[in-house]
């Protein structure tokens, strides 16, 4: 449920799924804060199916993904894990750059471009995140966020096997990003390359976050509902935070969980912060 895939291999399947489900996405769904105002409206019409897939994913996570991530963490020394993390993160550069531009965030695009150039050259192909040390921190971006910025509604909540929480908008974004990614294009027919990359990204992310996830699961009374809420709020925050100097929230995403964001302690103002409604509806 952590994997941030970029593989065209399963993209066809996902695209079909997106078209089917996107077709019944319905009217613009409210943001997560608004959605919470209407208690029984979780915009989750496929909840029973989603819960079944979620249970399956939990088994896969508990019995396969977390053991693999733990082994990786125990066996591979920290500097090498950091190098791999930085390398994978640098590989995302071109797609992030494209989405920065598509959202009209020229300044962010400049940052992404500079990061990619510095890290790919001085940083030895991306193994070392020199850009962060030079004061250009990483930020995540993807086509799901771009679609949201363009006003596309998210559609119903969908739990994808192995990959986890999503919705038609984010599935579309994921597929588009996967096809547009230069590294995937360069890999051509060698599908094992993007697959290995996705597995590596997922393992990297999980090796950093599995303890938090396990605690979250252990303390939740309805883990499915908790994850659904967090996923929606996090995506909404990512959408809101684009173009501000706020860090992207990345507690569960593979993209940004790096040891490389040295954000200055600044006082900032956030335009139109989403705020949960005070008064409960009747």
């Amino acid at each position: 449920m952590i994997l941030r895939p970029s593989l065209p291999g399963i993209s066809g399947l996902l695209l079909a799924l997106t078209l089917v489900l996107g077709g019944c996405a319905g009217p613009r769904a409210p943001g997560p804060q608004e959605a919470s105002a209407a208690p029984e409206n979780f915009n989750d019409p496929y909840e029973n199916t989603n819960r079944a897939v979620f249970r399956f994913n939990q088994n896969v996570t508990d019995h396969v993904l977390i053991p693999v991530a733990k082994t990786y963490k125990n066996v591979v020394p920290p500097p090498i894990r950091q190098n791999l993390h930085d390398f994978l993160q640098n590989l995302n550069g071109p797609v992030i750059f494209a989405n920065d531009l598509l959202q009209g965030q020229v300044h962010l695009a400049g940052n992404t471009m500079a990061r990619f150039l510095f890290n790919t050259t001085i940083g030895m192909g991306g193994l070392i995140d020199v850009a962060t040390r030079l004061g250009i921190p990483y930020h995540d971006n993807d086509f799901g966020v771009t679609l949201a910025v363009w006003g596309v509604p998210d559609g119903p909540y969908i739990v994808i096997p192995v990959l986890g929480p999503s919705n038609p908008r984010d599935i579309t974004g994921m597929v588009a990003d996967g096809f547009a990614d230069p590294a995937n294009i360069a890999a051509g027919d060698r599908l094992y390359i993007p697959i290995a990359r996705s597995v590596a990204q997922g393992t990297d992310a999980l090796s950093r976050n599995y303890a938090s996830l396990e605690d979250l699961e252990k303390t939740s009374l309805d883990y499915y509902a908790t994850i659904r809420s967090i996923y929606r709020q996090r995506r909404e925050a990512q959408i809101q935070h684009q173009g501000t100097n706020l860090p992207n929230p990345d507690i569960f995403s593979g993209g940004g969980g790096g040891g490389d964001e040295s954000l200055p302690a600044i006082q900032y103002t956030m335009p139109e912060t989403p705020k949960p409604p005070e008064a409960p509806p009747k």
Binding site: D215, G259, Y268
Partner: protein, 198 residues
């Protein structure tokens, strides 16, 4: 003479003891949160027994959080439809449940620096922004929403990396209630069981 000055000394220190806490609490929002962070961090980490951590979190939640307001928020419409006994029981169970939950979820943050980065006003609330610097990880942004004023600050919500803790809690509780046919009793039973299990 000696005895008298001893008495005076004792009296003075008693006065100091009584007077000190309100004086210490009459502080701005940023130092309030900074203080809370300092106190919480002291009981985090594997060297502190879970029971000690839990006891401290119980105190922190009752002293520094607007527990009643949060309880009403997370139950949404079901707070008003609950009878007084149910409300009382929910308040008690919820206090225990979130103390356990956060004592567990935050336990691993031991020794990771916490710093207040600023204060802003938002819809009448005071918001204190802070960061937890994770070892080998990116900083986690935590925004504290406060009500009250110097001497009476109470936390109403915390946004962790853009995710509201009370909205998350509310979505979870309302999901449980709606899956129990809209009955609050289903949630109360789950909370009772969870709290008793520890």
């Amino acid at each position: 003479m000696m005895r008298r000055s001893l008495l005076v000394g004792a009296f003075l220190s008693l006065v100091a003891l009584v007077a000190a806490p309100p004086a210490a609490r009459a502080q701005d929002a940023a130092s309030f949160i900074n203080n809370l962070g300092v106190q919480a961090i002291q009981v985090l980490g594997p060297s502190v027994p879970q029971a000690t951590r839990l006891a401290r979190f119980r105190e922190l939640f009752s002293d520094d959080f607007d527990l009643r307001g949060i309880s009403q928020f997370v139950l949404g419409p079901y707070w008003r439809s609950a009878n007084p006994q149910q409300q009382q029981e929910f308040l008690r169970l919820f206090h225990e449940y979130i103390s356990e939950t956060y004592a567990t979820r935050l336990a691993q943050y031991a020794g990771e620096p916490f710093r207040v980065t600023g204060t802003r006003q938002e819809n009448g609330d005071t918001v204190v922004t802070s960061q937890i610097i994770r070892r080998g990880g990116s900083p986690v942004q935590v925004d504290w929403h406060l009500t009250g004023g110097p001497g009476s600050w109470r936390i109403t919500d915390a946004y962790v990396a853009g995710v509201s803790m009370r909205v998350t809690q509310r979505d979870e509780f309302l999901s449980i209630i709606s899956r129990n046919g809209g009955r609050l009793d289903g949630l109360l039973a789950m909370l009772r069981q969870r709290v008793a299990a520890r």
